[in-house]
Symmetry: C3
Subunit: 424 residues, 3 copies
Amino acid sequence: MSDVETRLLDEILAIRAIDCHSHVPPQSPHAQTLADLLGYHYYTELAHSAGMPAEAVDPQRSDGDRIAELVSRLDTISNTVQYSWLMEAARELFAFRAERLTPSNWPELAQSVAEAGRPRDRYLAVLAKSNLEKVFLTNRFDEDLSAVDRTVFVPCLRTDDLVFQLADAEVRHRLAAKTGTQVGSTGDLQSAVAWLMRYFVQAGAGSAAISLPPDFSPAGPDEKAAEKALAKALRGKALSENESQALAVFAFDAVANACRQFKKPFQLMIGVVRNVYPAGVANGRDLLSKRGSLVDYADLFRRYPDVDFTVSVLSMTWAHELATFAWIFPNVKPSGHWWYTNIPAHIEYDLRARLEALPKVKLIGYYSDMYKVEFGLPKFNMYRRVLARVLAREFVETHRLSERQAVEVATLLLRDNPKRIFGV
Amino acid sequence: MSDVETRLLDEILAIRAIDCHSHVPPQSPHAQTLADLLGYHYYTELAHSAGMPAEAVDPQRSDGDRIAELVSRLDTISNTVQYSWLMEAARELFAFRAERLTPSNWPELAQSVAEAGRPRDRYLAVLAKSNLEKVFLTNRFDEDLSAVDRTVFVPCLRTDDLVFQLADAEVRHRLAAKTGTQVGSTGDLQSAVAWLMRYFVQAGAGSAAISLPPDFSPAGPDEKAAEKALAKALRGKALSENESQALAVFAFDAVANACRQFKKPFQLMIGVVRNVYPAGVANGRDLLSKRGSLVDYADLFRRYPDVDFTVSVLSMTWAHELATFAWIFPNVKPSGHWWYTNIPAHIEYDLRARLEALPKVKLIGYYSDMYKVEFGLPKFNMYRRVLARVLAREFVETHRLSERQAVEVATLLLRDNPKRIFGV
Amino acid sequence: MSDVETRLLDEILAIRAIDCHSHVPPQSPHAQTLADLLGYHYYTELAHSAGMPAEAVDPQRSDGDRIAELVSRLDTISNTVQYSWLMEAARELFAFRAERLTPSNWPELAQSVAEAGRPRDRYLAVLAKSNLEKVFLTNRFDEDLSAVDRTVFVPCLRTDDLVFQLADAEVRHRLAAKTGTQVGSTGDLQSAVAWLMRYFVQAGAGSAAISLPPDFSPAGPDEKAAEKALAKALRGKALSENESQALAVFAFDAVANACRQFKKPFQLMIGVVRNVYPAGVANGRDLLSKRGSLVDYADLFRRYPDVDFTVSVLSMTWAHELATFAWIFPNVKPSGHWWYTNIPAHIEYDLRARLEALPKVKLIGYYSDMYKVEFGLPKFNMYRRVLARVLAREFVETHRLSERQAVEVATLLLRDNPKRIFGV
């Protein structure tokens, strides 16, 4: 590592970051057992991919059994960056000293995790050590937000169910229970969505969020078609693909509209195909497709010039489109490096392209997408290292930025931009 | 930068290059005011993308107002390579010494530009300093070519209107006024196109050129269908999508045929979607889509083995296809790095791939796509630096080429190949 | 090159590799004339792409004429990695000392090749020098396997004809002659395929293999539709596209089933479009398309959990999908870097991504795809160099792996994984 890169990395590690997307559960944000760490889907799915039967990590089995099973498989994935997250978390947060986690030394780490996790506010220490100021959650629309520790966590209204599961009576029932509105018409739906958005914003929410399949097109919501589809669903009939689509596009539009009304960004996470591999482990069954195009979102971006769309894509084939749409549309903000694109090879290429071509004030550098706060440190550190490398090699050493300017850019990406865009 | 790279860059900066694609206006090729530089769409569109209202750069406003507005926004894009073009041009061509262009120092640069731009032949000095021997223009089919200074500029017949706007009576009127042919049949169309091509070639033109949407397919021109569509257009009726397509494919084929007849290359610039963001600034409304495939052009490449197709693509997802088609088809020549792909991250990856796999005699290294000659220097220098880096790191340091051979390769890309292929 | 990279490369060059895909002819595995080397399609197609008429390498012409013609064109491709394979083979296997192959020095190399090629077992020395323990062949289903020297070669059942050419009476005739089964029904087809698989496995075969067009979808084989299509073909009628597809999907499924029955992997090579440029040189007429998606294979991967699918893709746009499918599906193994992706720029990017995100035990590093054993050395060495670079820069220097661990990973990719997966 060059001296410039080393100095930049030091500065970048010192930036107090905002993590604008995670799945941390507000009532148990930190790990209490080693199983909470090893149960992260990256470890279960990669161990399964490398040969472990999915049943080996069945939740029915005891923590100890599952841990022993996973640890015995870890060598097969010791090359991966996901494995390095685990070891960095173990080292930095639990003072674990061994280089590898093995069948013989895991009980030691398990004990450290159990001890460290005992204090109710352990997550505060973890986040402080990780240099994370705020962490966004992803909340179900009827989730109890009173449990959220708002000193560090920011609620976020997850709208997947509202957009794609309205034909499910159970979802409508939950919606009625929460909002008091029995959705009987498209107007009701708009009201309920607005009600939820107001409720979330009052609870400090930073945004709405949704994950979308690669073939979704939010263009041209058609209230009449949605009304018909909704009526059919209310009669308990199964919807055709067209009807489902009409209802989803309308509901999606209602969310965008609520974002406009309450001046909050809409986090679009585009490209996931759910349940491609149903025999996989929990949370390890979804994949992606390279089909589709951001062109299908142009109509949305045009109709809502006042709404910031912070956009992540799951397929690297979409990365260039995302950068170009953010280049032209004021309300499109590229956000982080999501899931299957969240490895250094892809981050480095894509980050360099974004930094070279897009206004620095529009870039949301990174989010953790984590399920337990312990992964914020190693995931953000991975990103901080790539960021230091790209800034050093492509900007400072080529005299396009001074070191001070490079640190300013890094501060925008990690902290100032998400603070300003999400209003936290 | 390694010593090898430094030495290569010195040699590469000394190569007198050919710029085979620009939008320089022959009657005012160089900047006369700072607004001519800051008005480049990269600055207006990026400033708008970063928050500036599009109206702020309305042509109705005075130069001074627009400049002040843009300069006040420049900090938001100071990380971009586009910003670095501006500063390099200011430094190298206008002896501007400040590191950043600011609200307090821009009048100084404005004065330098105004003074430097006064001599009518200022562009010659700019091009000499930029080490550019020839710069291609992109001329409307009825443009007056007598104003073109053929010591440095090379006309090029832009055929977008001919191919995609024939249903527009105004275009047919312009065509008749220029060629003397009132297009009443497909035969007339072929004649008019051939007439134009002859006219342009006699005026020193290097090629025909066209920009194409990502879903265009030039396969299988159908004269009968085109005849019917043309007849309908002549009756003033709006064409269906199929009819428009039939007419466009036929007209496109007429251009390819004229290229064959007059032994000139056809510059294909594939992938632009026009007016995706109509509320944007001028020239900042077009985008791209990753859909489509070069396979749709195979029929064209087969039918015209004697025509050189110099091909640029706008989406990075097309880059690998372009390289492979150039690998197999003798008449496909990859050309430069167009618009949204014209940043170092993409150039470096794509250039390395082309240099590793394609005959060096087929590669057209770069063109500026500029609107004022001042941008030739920083844009070509950006490319020269990437070229030096790729040749040093991947060819000389790995012993695949000697330094002398690497410079020969660079000379082919920047100068000898475009000279030979376009016959200038 | 850093010291770490140099040390790693030394170790990696010492790994005795398995080459799991080639087109080496068992009866003449090594070159006997220089024409055998220069006749490799990379040289003929690139020379043609650079301007040589295809007729110049017509098999009718004498070896000497073809060699002289090709050598006179080599300078046009001296920058390419393909050219570097030729020169490395010449240097390492034939003690050729000149830096370039020229019209004046080629007779010297021709003589060396002729002399060296004389011993019948010359290929053994070449493979030993190349550090290749085993080389897979790609055999026609009715090929005589008795000629195969099983000390170094491993047969592999190529199934392209069985899947895509069953409507051809000649193919069915060859099938009947080999298996004794006159295919009159889908059941017969399954039997014949199983018979072949058993026969190949008994002859030491490591797998079945097939190359697939980018729009092929193996989902949902429909025996009834296949039966109808087969019956129509048996009546000598031409099949519609749908019928051809139905028959192909069913036959493909029969092969997958036979792989399950005989516990052998199925090598899928996805993405080739055949005969895009019919006027090209032999083996230089095929290209690719970026259309299609691995999602279309999910159904297959789900239905055959016990079959290892070793997957290669021809378009770089598919690379990310392949990595993610291998991340989730236990039976999907990314394999090598095929044909148009087989250049350092693409290998480096893709290899880094695979190594960062996928279990090391699933990666098949490389195969040569060669037609003469002489190309194993330079092609594998190209890969070994990229592997050393990626491991040094992204794993050892970033402290994710120790040097020893990095060499272990390399040994898995080059040797242990293919040995285990293919059972050789």
